[in-house]
Protein backbone atom coordinates (compact mmCIF):
# COMPACT_ATOMS: atom_id res chain seq x y z
CA UNK A 1 0.00 0.00 0.00
CA UNK A 2 1.12 3.52 -0.70
CA UNK A 3 -0.32 6.99 -0.44
CA UNK A 4 0.03 10.16 -2.43
CA UNK A 5 0.98 13.56 -1.05
CA UNK A 6 -2.37 14.61 -2.56
CA UNK A 7 -4.21 12.47 -0.01
CA UNK A 8 -2.75 14.17 3.06
CA UNK A 9 -1.70 17.71 2.08
CA UNK A 10 -2.39 20.69 -0.14
CA UNK A 11 0.18 22.65 -2.11
CA UNK A 12 0.77 25.89 -4.02
CA UNK A 13 3.58 26.85 -6.42
CA UNK A 14 5.30 30.18 -6.82
CA UNK A 15 8.09 31.10 -9.20
CA UNK A 16 11.10 33.34 -9.28
CA UNK A 17 13.08 32.81 -12.46
CA UNK A 18 15.06 29.56 -12.49
CA UNK A 19 13.87 28.68 -8.99
CA UNK A 20 10.39 27.60 -7.92
CA UNK A 21 8.97 27.09 -4.48
CA UNK A 22 6.24 24.63 -3.66
CA UNK A 23 4.51 24.59 -0.31
CA UNK A 24 3.25 21.33 1.16
CA UNK A 25 0.67 21.89 3.89
CA UNK A 26 -0.38 18.80 5.82
CA UNK A 27 -4.03 18.42 6.78
CA UNK A 28 -3.08 17.76 10.43
CA UNK A 29 -0.16 17.34 12.77
CA UNK A 30 0.16 13.57 12.41
CA UNK A 31 0.34 13.91 8.62
CA UNK A 32 2.94 16.65 9.07
CA UNK A 33 5.17 14.26 11.00
CA UNK A 34 4.60 11.52 8.45
CA UNK A 35 5.63 13.91 5.66
CA UNK A 36 8.62 15.08 7.65
CA UNK A 37 9.85 11.48 7.69
CA UNK A 38 9.07 10.53 4.09
CA UNK A 39 8.87 13.63 1.90
CA UNK A 40 12.55 14.49 2.12
CA UNK A 41 14.32 16.96 -0.11
CA UNK A 42 16.11 13.96 -1.72
CA UNK A 43 12.78 12.32 -2.55
CA UNK A 44 11.44 15.55 -4.08
CA UNK A 45 14.67 16.12 -6.04
CA UNK A 46 14.35 12.61 -7.51
CA UNK A 47 10.72 13.05 -8.54
CA UNK A 48 11.42 16.49 -10.01
CA UNK A 49 14.55 15.38 -11.87
CA UNK A 50 12.85 15.33 -15.32
CA UNK A 51 12.30 19.09 -15.08
CA UNK A 52 14.83 20.40 -12.56
CA UNK A 53 18.51 19.82 -11.90
CA UNK A 54 18.20 20.78 -8.25
CA UNK A 55 19.28 21.07 -5.50
CA UNK A 56 16.08 21.01 -3.49
CA UNK A 57 15.85 22.62 -0.05
CA UNK A 58 13.15 21.89 2.51
CA UNK A 59 12.09 24.43 5.14
CA UNK A 60 9.84 23.42 8.02
CA UNK A 61 6.99 25.49 9.46
CA UNK A 62 5.68 23.27 12.28
CA UNK A 63 3.10 25.78 13.51
CA UNK A 64 1.38 25.64 10.12
CA UNK A 65 2.05 21.88 9.71
CA UNK A 66 3.75 22.95 6.50
CA UNK A 67 6.93 22.68 4.47
CA UNK A 68 8.33 24.95 1.85
CA UNK A 69 10.35 23.22 -0.86
CA UNK A 70 12.66 25.34 -3.00
CA UNK A 71 13.61 23.67 -6.27
CA UNK A 72 16.55 25.27 -8.03
CA UNK A 73 17.75 25.21 -11.62
CA UNK A 74 14.59 24.46 -13.50
CA UNK A 75 15.54 23.05 -16.89
CA UNK A 76 15.02 25.55 -19.69
CA UNK A 77 15.88 28.62 -17.69
CA UNK A 78 12.82 29.80 -15.84
CA UNK A 79 10.08 32.28 -16.51
CA UNK A 80 11.78 34.90 -18.61
CA UNK A 81 13.55 32.73 -21.16
CA UNK A 82 12.01 29.30 -20.82
CA UNK A 83 10.66 27.45 -23.83
CA UNK A 84 8.34 25.42 -21.61
CA UNK A 85 4.61 25.65 -21.98
CA UNK A 86 4.09 26.52 -18.31
CA UNK A 87 6.88 29.07 -18.01
CA UNK A 88 5.84 30.07 -14.50
CA UNK A 89 5.68 26.51 -13.21
CA UNK A 90 2.17 27.22 -11.96
CA UNK A 91 1.15 23.59 -12.43
CA UNK A 92 4.03 22.08 -10.44
CA UNK A 93 2.12 21.82 -7.17
CA UNK A 94 0.34 18.86 -8.78
CA UNK A 95 3.62 17.16 -9.64
CA UNK A 96 4.41 17.43 -5.93
CA UNK A 97 0.99 16.11 -4.93
CA UNK A 98 1.40 13.16 -7.29
CA UNK A 99 4.47 11.92 -5.40
CA UNK A 100 3.84 8.45 -3.99
CA UNK A 101 5.02 7.65 -0.46
CA UNK A 102 5.15 4.35 1.45
CA UNK A 103 2.46 3.74 4.03
CA UNK A 104 3.66 3.67 7.63
Amino acid sequence: MSIKVYDIAHCRTGDKGRTVNISVIAFDEAKFHYLKQHLTSEKVAKDFSPIAEGPVSRYELPKLHAFNFVVENMRGGGVTVSLSQDIHGKSLSYLMMGIVLPEN
Binding site: C11, R12, I51, A66, Q85
Partner: protein, 451 residues
Protein backbone atom coordinates in the same frame (compact mmCIF):
# COMPACT_ATOMS: atom_id res chain seq x y z
CA UNK B 1 -12.27 64.11 -0.47
CA UNK B 2 -8.97 64.01 1.41
CA UNK B 3 -8.92 61.91 4.53
CA UNK B 4 -7.34 62.93 7.76
CA UNK B 5 -4.59 60.91 9.40
CA UNK B 6 -4.46 59.77 12.97
CA UNK B 7 -6.71 56.72 12.82
CA UNK B 8 -6.23 53.65 14.97
CA UNK B 9 -7.36 51.21 12.28
CA UNK B 10 -7.38 51.24 8.50
CA UNK B 11 -8.77 48.91 5.89
CA UNK B 12 -6.67 48.22 2.78
CA UNK B 13 -8.01 46.23 -0.16
CA UNK B 14 -6.06 44.09 -2.64
CA UNK B 15 -7.63 45.16 -5.92
CA UNK B 16 -5.32 43.53 -8.48
CA UNK B 17 -2.70 40.80 -8.31
CA UNK B 18 -1.31 41.15 -11.83
CA UNK B 19 -1.81 43.28 -14.92
CA UNK B 20 -4.45 40.96 -16.36
CA UNK B 21 -6.48 40.73 -13.17
CA UNK B 22 -10.29 41.13 -13.08
CA UNK B 23 -11.44 44.73 -12.96
CA UNK B 24 -15.01 43.83 -11.91
CA UNK B 25 -13.77 42.26 -8.67
CA UNK B 26 -11.80 45.42 -7.84
CA UNK B 27 -14.83 47.63 -8.42
CA UNK B 28 -16.95 45.37 -6.22
CA UNK B 29 -14.26 45.45 -3.51
CA UNK B 30 -14.13 49.25 -3.56
CA UNK B 31 -17.91 49.62 -3.65
CA UNK B 32 -18.88 47.20 -0.88
CA UNK B 33 -16.01 46.94 1.59
CA UNK B 34 -15.74 50.36 3.31
CA UNK B 35 -12.07 50.64 2.36
CA UNK B 36 -9.62 53.41 3.20
CA UNK B 37 -7.17 52.34 0.49
CA UNK B 38 -7.22 50.08 -2.53
CA UNK B 39 -3.91 48.76 -3.86
CA UNK B 40 -3.58 47.63 -7.47
CA UNK B 41 -0.46 45.50 -8.02
CA UNK B 42 0.01 45.20 -11.78
CA UNK B 43 3.70 44.57 -12.57
CA UNK B 44 5.08 41.13 -13.38
CA UNK B 45 8.80 40.55 -13.65
CA UNK B 46 9.11 41.49 -17.33
CA UNK B 47 6.38 44.16 -17.49
CA UNK B 48 8.63 47.15 -16.91
CA UNK B 49 11.15 45.94 -19.49
CA UNK B 50 8.40 45.50 -22.08
CA UNK B 51 7.00 48.92 -21.11
CA UNK B 52 10.40 50.50 -21.67
CA UNK B 53 10.51 49.06 -25.20
CA UNK B 54 7.15 50.71 -25.88
CA UNK B 55 8.32 54.00 -24.31
CA UNK B 56 11.32 54.11 -26.65
CA UNK B 57 8.93 54.05 -29.65
CA UNK B 58 6.16 56.17 -28.06
CA UNK B 59 7.43 58.51 -25.31
CA UNK B 60 3.89 59.08 -23.96
CA UNK B 61 3.32 55.37 -23.34
CA UNK B 62 5.02 52.57 -21.43
CA UNK B 63 2.71 52.52 -18.41
CA UNK B 64 0.41 49.59 -17.66
CA UNK B 65 -1.84 48.77 -20.61
CA UNK B 66 -4.79 48.22 -18.31
CA UNK B 67 -4.40 51.57 -16.52
CA UNK B 68 -7.11 53.41 -18.43
CA UNK B 69 -9.71 50.67 -17.93
CA UNK B 70 -8.94 50.35 -14.21
CA UNK B 71 -8.84 54.07 -13.47
CA UNK B 72 -11.97 54.79 -15.51
CA UNK B 73 -14.03 52.23 -13.64
CA UNK B 74 -12.55 52.75 -10.16
CA UNK B 75 -12.44 56.54 -9.86
CA UNK B 76 -16.24 57.03 -9.86
CA UNK B 77 -16.50 54.42 -7.07
CA UNK B 78 -13.47 55.43 -5.01
CA UNK B 79 -13.47 59.23 -5.11
CA UNK B 80 -16.93 59.87 -3.58
CA UNK B 81 -16.13 57.38 -0.80
CA UNK B 82 -12.69 58.81 -0.11
CA UNK B 83 -10.94 55.53 -0.98
CA UNK B 84 -7.38 56.30 -2.02
CA UNK B 85 -5.75 54.33 -4.86
CA UNK B 86 -2.14 53.16 -4.71
CA UNK B 87 -0.74 51.36 -7.77
CA UNK B 88 2.46 50.46 -9.58
CA UNK B 89 0.67 50.86 -12.93
CA UNK B 90 3.17 53.63 -13.72
CA UNK B 91 5.42 50.77 -14.89
CA UNK B 92 8.13 52.16 -17.21
CA UNK B 93 6.56 55.63 -17.43
CA UNK B 94 4.94 56.76 -14.15
CA UNK B 95 4.73 60.42 -15.24
CA UNK B 96 2.77 59.55 -18.39
CA UNK B 97 0.57 57.28 -16.27
CA UNK B 98 -0.10 60.19 -13.93
CA UNK B 99 -1.01 62.46 -16.83
CA UNK B 100 -3.35 59.88 -18.33
CA UNK B 101 -5.01 59.34 -14.93
CA UNK B 102 -5.42 63.10 -14.50
CA UNK B 103 -7.02 63.36 -17.98
CA UNK B 104 -9.45 60.56 -17.19
CA UNK B 105 -10.42 62.23 -13.91
CA UNK B 106 -11.24 65.45 -15.79
CA UNK B 107 -13.24 63.53 -18.40
CA UNK B 108 -15.23 61.88 -15.60
CA UNK B 109 -15.98 65.20 -13.93
CA UNK B 110 -13.39 65.26 -11.14
CA UNK B 111 -11.45 68.41 -12.10
CA UNK B 112 -10.02 68.83 -8.59
CA UNK B 113 -8.31 65.47 -8.51
CA UNK B 114 -4.53 65.42 -8.73
CA UNK B 115 -2.14 62.51 -8.97
CA UNK B 116 1.01 61.97 -6.91
CA UNK B 117 3.70 60.15 -8.87
CA UNK B 118 6.70 58.41 -7.29
CA UNK B 119 9.90 58.49 -9.36
CA UNK B 120 13.32 57.02 -8.80
CA UNK B 121 13.11 53.31 -9.59
CA UNK B 122 14.54 53.75 -13.11
CA UNK B 123 18.29 53.28 -12.58
CA UNK B 124 19.28 52.45 -16.17
CA UNK B 125 21.69 55.39 -16.41
CA UNK B 126 23.32 54.49 -13.10
CA UNK B 127 23.96 50.83 -13.85
CA UNK B 128 25.19 51.48 -17.40
CA UNK B 129 28.24 53.01 -15.76
CA UNK B 130 28.73 50.00 -13.51
CA UNK B 131 29.61 47.07 -15.81
CA UNK B 132 31.42 45.43 -12.91
CA UNK B 133 28.15 44.65 -11.06
CA UNK B 134 27.52 40.92 -10.64
CA UNK B 135 24.33 39.38 -12.00
CA UNK B 136 22.76 37.35 -9.19
CA UNK B 137 21.36 34.63 -11.48
CA UNK B 138 24.28 33.89 -13.83
CA UNK B 139 27.16 35.06 -11.62
CA UNK B 140 28.62 36.91 -14.62
CA UNK B 141 29.27 40.65 -14.77
CA UNK B 142 26.71 43.11 -16.08
CA UNK B 143 29.11 43.76 -18.94
CA UNK B 144 28.12 40.40 -20.48
CA UNK B 145 24.66 41.75 -21.32
CA UNK B 146 25.39 45.50 -21.41
CA UNK B 147 24.72 46.14 -25.13
CA UNK B 148 21.39 44.30 -24.91
CA UNK B 149 20.00 45.97 -21.76
CA UNK B 150 16.64 47.70 -22.18
CA UNK B 151 15.65 48.51 -18.60
CA UNK B 152 16.90 48.54 -15.02
CA UNK B 153 14.51 49.22 -12.17
CA UNK B 154 15.08 49.12 -8.43
CA UNK B 155 12.45 47.57 -6.18
CA UNK B 156 11.65 50.63 -4.07
CA UNK B 157 10.22 50.36 -0.57
CA UNK B 158 7.38 51.88 1.41
CA UNK B 159 9.53 54.90 2.28
CA UNK B 160 9.38 55.96 -1.38
CA UNK B 161 5.57 55.94 -1.34
CA UNK B 162 4.90 57.53 2.06
CA UNK B 163 5.87 61.09 0.90
CA UNK B 164 3.41 60.71 -1.99
CA UNK B 165 0.67 59.79 0.48
CA UNK B 166 1.62 62.84 2.57
CA UNK B 167 0.59 65.04 -0.39
CA UNK B 168 -2.97 63.95 0.32
CA UNK B 169 -3.77 63.14 -3.31
CA UNK B 170 -6.39 60.51 -3.99
CA UNK B 171 -4.25 58.55 -6.43
CA UNK B 172 -0.59 57.55 -5.99
CA UNK B 173 1.22 55.94 -8.92
CA UNK B 174 4.65 54.31 -8.91
CA UNK B 175 6.95 52.35 -11.16
CA UNK B 176 8.75 49.32 -9.73
CA UNK B 177 8.09 48.88 -6.02
CA UNK B 178 8.23 45.71 -3.96
CA UNK B 179 4.67 44.38 -3.84
CA UNK B 180 4.23 44.32 -0.02
CA UNK B 181 5.59 47.88 0.20
CA UNK B 182 2.54 49.15 -1.70
CA UNK B 183 0.46 48.01 1.29
CA UNK B 184 2.93 48.87 4.06
CA UNK B 185 3.18 52.50 2.92
CA UNK B 186 -0.35 53.55 3.96
CA UNK B 187 0.17 51.90 7.36
CA UNK B 188 3.38 53.85 7.96
CA UNK B 189 1.66 56.98 6.69
CA UNK B 190 -1.45 56.64 8.86
CA UNK B 191 0.14 55.26 12.03
CA UNK B 192 3.53 57.03 11.90
CA UNK B 193 5.28 53.69 12.30
CA UNK B 194 9.05 53.90 12.75
CA UNK B 195 11.51 52.16 10.47
CA UNK B 196 13.08 50.75 13.62
CA UNK B 197 9.92 49.10 14.86
CA UNK B 198 10.43 45.70 13.28
CA UNK B 199 7.46 44.07 14.98
CA UNK B 200 5.09 46.51 13.26
CA UNK B 201 6.94 46.47 9.94
CA UNK B 202 6.77 42.66 10.08
CA UNK B 203 3.01 42.54 10.59
CA UNK B 204 2.46 45.20 7.92
CA UNK B 205 4.67 43.40 5.42
CA UNK B 206 2.89 40.13 6.23
CA UNK B 207 -0.47 41.77 5.47
CA UNK B 208 0.94 43.17 2.22
CA UNK B 209 2.37 39.82 1.18
CA UNK B 210 -0.97 38.09 1.81
CA UNK B 211 -2.92 40.71 -0.17
CA UNK B 212 -0.57 41.30 -3.08
CA UNK B 213 -2.07 38.60 -5.31
CA UNK B 214 -5.63 39.73 -4.60
CA UNK B 215 -7.97 36.77 -5.31
CA UNK B 216 -5.30 34.19 -4.49
CA UNK B 217 -6.08 34.82 -0.83
CA UNK B 218 -9.81 34.32 -1.17
CA UNK B 219 -10.10 31.08 -3.11
CA UNK B 220 -8.47 31.85 -6.46
CA UNK B 221 -5.71 29.41 -7.56
CA UNK B 222 -7.08 27.06 -4.87
CA UNK B 223 -10.15 25.11 -6.00
CA UNK B 224 -9.88 21.37 -6.65
CA UNK B 225 -13.38 19.98 -7.15
CA UNK B 226 -14.33 17.34 -4.61
CA UNK B 227 -11.22 18.00 -2.53
CA UNK B 228 -10.94 21.73 -1.98
CA UNK B 229 -14.26 23.24 -2.99
CA UNK B 230 -14.67 26.99 -3.36
CA UNK B 231 -18.24 28.30 -3.39
CA UNK B 232 -19.16 30.77 -6.13
CA UNK B 233 -15.70 30.90 -7.70
CA UNK B 234 -17.12 32.62 -10.78
CA UNK B 235 -17.97 35.59 -8.55
CA UNK B 236 -14.68 35.51 -6.63
CA UNK B 237 -14.48 38.40 -4.16
CA UNK B 238 -11.18 40.19 -3.50
CA UNK B 239 -9.61 40.50 -0.03
CA UNK B 240 -8.83 43.32 2.35
CA UNK B 241 -6.96 43.63 5.65
CA UNK B 242 -7.94 45.57 8.74
CA UNK B 243 -4.69 46.75 10.29
CA UNK B 244 -4.53 48.47 13.66
CA UNK B 245 -1.99 50.96 14.87
CA UNK B 246 -0.44 48.30 17.11
CA UNK B 247 -0.07 45.83 14.26
CA UNK B 248 -3.08 43.54 14.53
CA UNK B 249 -3.98 42.14 11.11
CA UNK B 250 -7.42 40.74 10.34
CA UNK B 251 -8.17 39.61 6.81
CA UNK B 252 -11.58 39.88 5.21
CA UNK B 253 -13.34 39.50 1.86
CA UNK B 254 -15.78 41.62 -0.15
CA UNK B 255 -19.26 40.90 1.26
CA UNK B 256 -21.84 39.11 -0.89
CA UNK B 257 -19.30 37.62 -3.28
CA UNK B 258 -18.06 34.13 -4.06
CA UNK B 259 -14.82 32.55 -2.95
CA UNK B 260 -13.68 31.81 0.58
CA UNK B 261 -11.16 33.09 3.07
CA UNK B 262 -9.99 30.56 5.63
CA UNK B 263 -6.88 29.20 7.30
CA UNK B 264 -6.16 26.93 4.31
CA UNK B 265 -6.27 29.72 1.72
CA UNK B 266 -4.13 31.90 4.01
CA UNK B 267 -1.49 29.21 4.55
CA UNK B 268 -1.15 28.64 0.80
CA UNK B 269 -0.74 32.34 0.10
CA UNK B 270 1.68 32.89 3.00
CA UNK B 271 4.20 30.55 1.37
CA UNK B 272 3.58 31.77 -2.19
CA UNK B 273 6.82 32.90 -3.84
CA UNK B 274 8.76 32.63 -0.60
CA UNK B 275 12.08 30.80 -0.40
CA UNK B 276 13.66 30.70 3.06
CA UNK B 277 10.66 31.53 5.30
CA UNK B 278 12.97 33.08 7.89
CA UNK B 279 14.50 35.49 5.36
CA UNK B 280 11.98 37.04 2.98
CA UNK B 281 13.85 40.14 1.88
CA UNK B 282 11.85 43.26 1.03
CA UNK B 283 13.21 46.82 0.75
CA UNK B 284 11.58 47.54 4.13
CA UNK B 285 12.75 44.65 6.28
CA UNK B 286 13.82 41.01 6.28
CA UNK B 287 10.62 39.19 7.14
CA UNK B 288 10.52 35.94 9.13
CA UNK B 289 7.23 34.06 8.77
CA UNK B 290 8.39 30.85 10.50
CA UNK B 291 6.06 31.39 13.46
CA UNK B 292 3.19 33.06 11.62
CA UNK B 293 -0.16 31.48 12.26
CA UNK B 294 -3.82 32.08 11.44
CA UNK B 295 -7.04 31.93 13.41
CA UNK B 296 -10.51 31.87 11.91
CA UNK B 297 -12.45 34.63 13.68
CA UNK B 298 -15.70 34.28 11.75
CA UNK B 299 -16.78 33.22 8.27
CA UNK B 300 -14.36 34.83 5.79
CA UNK B 301 -12.50 36.58 8.60
CA UNK B 302 -9.01 35.42 9.60
CA UNK B 303 -6.56 36.84 12.15
CA UNK B 304 -2.88 36.69 11.00
CA UNK B 305 -0.18 36.95 13.64
CA UNK B 306 3.36 36.01 14.65
CA UNK B 307 5.46 37.80 12.01
CA UNK B 308 8.97 38.93 12.93
CA UNK B 309 11.52 40.97 11.04
CA UNK B 310 15.08 42.17 11.01
CA UNK B 311 16.38 45.49 9.71
CA UNK B 312 16.33 46.12 5.98
CA UNK B 313 19.49 45.46 3.97
CA UNK B 314 21.68 48.28 2.71
CA UNK B 315 21.01 47.64 -0.98
CA UNK B 316 18.14 47.61 -3.45
CA UNK B 317 17.46 44.68 -5.75
CA UNK B 318 17.47 45.91 -9.33
CA UNK B 319 15.69 44.00 -12.07
CA UNK B 320 17.61 44.26 -15.34
CA UNK B 321 15.72 43.53 -18.58
CA UNK B 322 17.64 42.64 -21.74
CA UNK B 323 17.02 41.31 -25.23
CA UNK B 324 17.66 37.60 -25.44
CA UNK B 325 16.93 36.67 -29.05
CA UNK B 326 13.76 35.09 -30.39
CA UNK B 327 11.47 32.15 -29.77
CA UNK B 328 9.71 30.46 -32.68
CA UNK B 329 6.85 28.10 -31.91
CA UNK B 330 4.45 25.83 -33.76
CA UNK B 331 1.71 23.46 -32.60
CA UNK B 332 -0.41 20.80 -34.32
CA UNK B 333 -2.80 18.08 -33.03
CA UNK B 334 -3.32 14.39 -33.80
CA UNK B 335 -6.20 12.19 -32.59
CA UNK B 336 -7.54 8.65 -32.75
CA UNK B 337 -5.64 5.39 -33.48
CA UNK B 338 -1.85 5.74 -33.35
CA UNK B 339 -2.08 9.50 -32.63
CA UNK B 340 1.04 9.56 -30.48
CA UNK B 341 3.22 7.84 -33.08
CA UNK B 342 2.06 10.28 -35.75
CA UNK B 343 2.79 13.25 -33.45
CA UNK B 344 6.27 11.87 -32.72
CA UNK B 345 6.98 11.41 -36.43
CA UNK B 346 5.78 14.98 -37.06
CA UNK B 347 8.23 16.35 -34.48
CA UNK B 348 11.15 14.42 -35.97
CA UNK B 349 10.31 15.64 -39.48
CA UNK B 350 10.23 19.30 -38.46
CA UNK B 351 13.57 19.09 -36.68
CA UNK B 352 15.15 17.35 -39.68
CA UNK B 353 13.75 19.94 -42.09
CA UNK B 354 15.10 22.81 -39.97
CA UNK B 355 18.50 21.11 -40.04
CA UNK B 356 18.37 20.73 -43.81
CA UNK B 357 17.61 24.45 -44.08
CA UNK B 358 20.77 25.07 -41.98
CA UNK B 359 19.16 27.14 -39.27
CA UNK B 360 20.96 27.36 -35.95
CA UNK B 361 19.15 27.12 -32.65
CA UNK B 362 20.43 27.60 -29.13
CA UNK B 363 17.80 25.18 -27.89
CA UNK B 364 14.90 23.18 -29.35
CA UNK B 365 12.10 22.10 -27.02
CA UNK B 366 9.60 19.40 -27.97
CA UNK B 367 6.36 18.83 -26.04
CA UNK B 368 3.52 16.40 -26.49
CA UNK B 369 0.66 18.31 -24.90
CA UNK B 370 -1.55 15.84 -23.09
CA UNK B 371 1.45 13.72 -22.16
CA UNK B 372 4.55 15.57 -20.99
CA UNK B 373 4.30 19.33 -21.53
CA UNK B 374 3.81 20.34 -17.89
CA UNK B 375 5.72 17.88 -15.72
CA UNK B 376 8.13 16.23 -18.15
CA UNK B 377 8.21 12.51 -18.71
CA UNK B 378 6.46 11.14 -15.68
CA UNK B 379 5.73 7.49 -14.91
CA UNK B 380 3.92 4.97 -17.10
CA UNK B 381 0.82 6.65 -18.45
CA UNK B 382 -1.38 5.01 -21.03
CA UNK B 383 -1.49 6.84 -24.34
CA UNK B 384 -4.11 9.60 -24.62
CA UNK B 385 -6.81 9.61 -27.34
CA UNK B 386 -5.38 12.82 -28.76
CA UNK B 387 -2.09 14.63 -28.45
CA UNK B 388 -0.74 18.03 -29.51
CA UNK B 389 2.82 18.46 -30.76
CA UNK B 390 4.45 21.70 -29.65
CA UNK B 391 7.88 22.71 -30.95
CA UNK B 392 9.58 25.79 -29.54
CA UNK B 393 13.11 26.95 -30.36
CA UNK B 394 15.33 29.76 -29.19
CA UNK B 395 17.67 31.56 -31.56
CA UNK B 396 19.41 34.85 -32.27
CA UNK B 397 17.92 35.20 -35.75
CA UNK B 398 14.27 36.07 -36.43
CA UNK B 399 14.20 34.14 -39.74
CA UNK B 400 15.24 30.98 -37.92
CA UNK B 401 12.52 31.58 -35.32
CA UNK B 402 9.87 32.03 -38.03
CA UNK B 403 11.01 28.81 -39.70
CA UNK B 404 9.86 26.74 -36.71
CA UNK B 405 6.24 27.83 -37.18
CA UNK B 406 6.55 27.56 -40.97
CA UNK B 407 7.68 23.96 -40.83
CA UNK B 408 4.95 22.99 -38.37
CA UNK B 409 2.39 24.63 -40.65
CA UNK B 410 3.83 22.76 -43.63
CA UNK B 411 3.03 19.48 -41.86
CA UNK B 412 -0.58 20.03 -42.93
CA UNK B 413 0.24 18.76 -46.43
CA UNK B 414 3.77 17.38 -45.99
CA UNK B 415 3.57 15.54 -42.68
CA UNK B 416 1.91 12.47 -41.12
CA UNK B 417 -1.79 11.76 -41.71
CA UNK B 418 -4.51 13.59 -39.86
CA UNK B 419 -2.71 16.63 -38.42
CA UNK B 420 -4.96 19.59 -37.62
CA UNK B 421 -5.52 22.66 -35.49
CA UNK B 422 -2.21 24.29 -36.27
CA UNK B 423 -0.89 27.43 -34.50
CA UNK B 424 2.38 29.38 -34.81
CA UNK B 425 4.06 32.42 -33.31
CA UNK B 426 7.40 34.19 -33.13
CA UNK B 427 8.27 36.21 -30.03
CA UNK B 428 11.11 38.54 -29.15
CA UNK B 429 12.52 37.24 -25.84
CA UNK B 430 13.08 39.68 -23.01
CA UNK B 431 15.05 38.14 -20.16
CA UNK B 432 15.50 39.40 -16.61
CA UNK B 433 18.43 39.16 -14.23
CA UNK B 434 19.13 41.07 -11.02
CA UNK B 435 21.90 43.12 -9.46
CA UNK B 436 22.19 44.76 -6.05
CA UNK B 437 22.72 48.51 -5.85
CA UNK B 438 23.66 50.42 -2.67
CA UNK B 439 20.78 52.45 -1.25
CA UNK B 440 22.61 55.78 -1.32
CA UNK B 441 22.78 55.72 -5.14
CA UNK B 442 19.02 55.92 -5.51
CA UNK B 443 17.00 59.10 -4.96
CA UNK B 444 13.22 59.07 -4.91
CA UNK B 445 11.15 62.12 -5.79
CA UNK B 446 7.45 62.95 -5.90
CA UNK B 447 5.72 64.81 -8.73
CA UNK B 448 2.15 66.02 -8.47
CA UNK B 449 0.25 66.05 -11.74
CA UNK B 450 -2.44 68.71 -12.10
CA UNK B 451 -0.97 71.21 -9.68
Amino acid sequence: MKRSKGKNKIRIGGGAGFSGDRVDSAVELAAKSELDYIVLECLAERTVALGNMIKIREPGKGYSETLSARIRTLLPVCLPKGVRIISNMGSANPLAAGKRTYEIARELGFPEMQVAVVLGDDVLDIIKNKPELILLESGKTLESILPRIISANAYMGADAIVPALETGQAVVLTGRVADPSLFLAPMIHEFNWSYNDYKLLAQGTLAGHLLECAGQLTGGYFADPGKKNVPGLARLGFPYADVTKDGKVTLGKTPETGGKLDVMTCKEQLLYEIHDPSRYITPDCVLDVTDVNFKQEAKDSVHAFGARALARTDSYKVSVGYMDGYMGEGQISYGGPNAVARARLAGEIVIERLKIRKFDYLEIHKDFIGMDSLHGKTSTLSEPYEVRLRLAAKCRDKMAANAVGEEVEALLTNGPAGGGGFFRQTKELVAIQSVLLPRYLIKQTIHTIGK
